[in-house]
């Protein structure tokens, strides 16, 4: 089973078209293995991206150096998945 320990979901706010383009550049960095849950669209709309543990620091540095504001939407994806599984097991039991 795929492990998502340490994966975070970041919510990025791109204030203008230039920042939307910057996030699109981030999207193209395949080695970071990012999973955009809500892709870059228009200025002002939030962008949600799941970042594997190994890429968290690099992505945060990229965002900060580009002047993009972000917050952590999900601190640890695996913790939420574990909760979800527990609920399902509880129901089955």
């Amino acid at each position: 089973r795929e492990d998502f320990v340490g994966h975070q979901v970041l919510r990025i706010l791109a204030a203008d078209e230039a920042q939307v383009q910057t996030v699109k550049e981030l999207e193209e960095l395949e080695h970071l293995q990012l999973d955009f849950w809500r892709g870059p669209a228009q200025p002002g709309s939030s962008i949600d991206v799941r970042v594997p543990f190994a890429s968290v620091q690099a992505v945060k540095m990229f965002l900060e150096s580009s002047g993009l504001s972000y917050s952590i939407m999900i601190e640890d994806v695996q913790a939420l998945l574990d909760e979800e599984q527990e609920q399902m097991f509880a129901f089955q039991a």
């Binding site: 999973d35 849950w37 669209a41 998945l81 979800e84």
Partner: protein, 312 residues
């Protein structure tokens, strides 16, 4: 396992087997209203089922409404909502005037798990899998985005040609059997009047086009109906939705489902993005399944009622 669809737990997520077993129970309990049709097989050989809700006793293709959930497998609240919708239809027929009137004149087709391979994979290997599970020549990356695989500006901007991305459009239009099965069904039926494809999350109600910013010929009516549907949805639990064309409301998306259905002449073509709480994304807590389904049902009823009252 639940003994019947009354004791089935709608407040938790279920495996593919459990959902398929639910469908069988619903059919057995409502033989004069519900039947199960197999429209195809997945890449991995699983059957693809559609529930047909019909009050007609004749072999005829009445005007129909199509609803599908779960084309993106990780969007679990959609399959769960689809299950709730199925039960709701059987409960409300002959109780709710509007639904009864719709079903007395039209059929409803509901595909609860549009991407069964992907859904099974989210339960066994990778909870966050989105695509189909077909193999792609020349790469180890698996699957295509079934919402980029339709013959509507296929392969144009707004989809990826890279099999390793989440929006990979696939080898060719309809290359995914999950898509081709629906295409064949819709083209054989010839009398589908509304087509509603349900995704999550972002809280949006969208209509064509996705591949171009040009307005659809029916843009004004589609927009007015979207507003009415969103108002009805928000009245249930206060959830806020945005609405508009796919292109102008989110981003360019070529090869998508409702651009194809609209191109086939199905005027009332819509796609939903169901609720998130701003914190959970695809991992919406199970406690929110029923409220999500309830509010979505209000919007669906608005679209279905309008379709019924505005024949074309």
């Amino acid at each position: 396992r639940a003994a019947n669809t009354d004791t089935f737990n709608y407040e938790t997520y279920h495996t593919l087997d459990e959902i398929y077993s639910f469908m069988d129970m619903l059919v057995a309990e409502n033989p004069n209203l519900v039947s199960k049709i197999q429209i195809g097989k997945t890449y991995e050989g699983r059957p693809i089922f559609v529930l047909k809700f019909s009050t007609s006793t004749k072999e005829e293709k009445r005007p129909a409404i199509w609803i599908d959930t779960g084309i993106h497998s990780r969007e679990w609240v959609t399959q769960a909502s689809g299950t709730w919708f199925a039960k709701k239809i059987t409960k409300d027929y002959k109780q709710d005037k509007t639904l009864t009137s719709i079903l007395d004149n039209m059929d409803i087709f509901l595909e609860i798990v549009t991407n069964p391979d992907g859904y099974a994979f989210t339960h066994s290997k990778n909870r966050l899998w989105r695509k189909t599970r077909s193999r792609n020549d020349g790469t180890s990356c698996v699957g295509a985005d079934p919402n980029r695989n339709w013959d509507a500006a296929f392969g144009k901007p707004g989809a990826s040609g890279n099999p390793c991305t989440e929006t990979y459009h696939g080898k060719a239009p309809n290359s995914e059997s999950e898509v081709k099965s629906i295409v064949d069904f819709v083209q054989n039926h010839k009398n589908i009047k509304a087509f509603i494809s349900i995704h999550s999350y972002s809280q949006l109600l969208l209509y064509p086009y996705g591949y171009t910013k040009d307005p659809a010929p029916d843009q004004q009516e589609l927009d007015q109906l979207a507003k009415a549907a969103v108002d009805a949805l928000s009245a249930v639990h206060g959830t806020k939705y945005k609405y508009g064309s796919i292109y102008t409301t989110i981003y360019q998306a070529s090869g998508n489902t409702v651009d194809w259905t609209y191109g086939q002449g199905i005027k009332y073509s819509y796609t939903f993005e169901l609720r998130d709480t701003g914190r959970y994304g695809f991992l919406l807590p199970a406690a929110q399944i029923v409220p999500t389904a309830e509010e979505t049902w209000a919007a669906l009823m608005t679209i279905m009622d309008h379709t019924h009252k505005h024949p074309y």
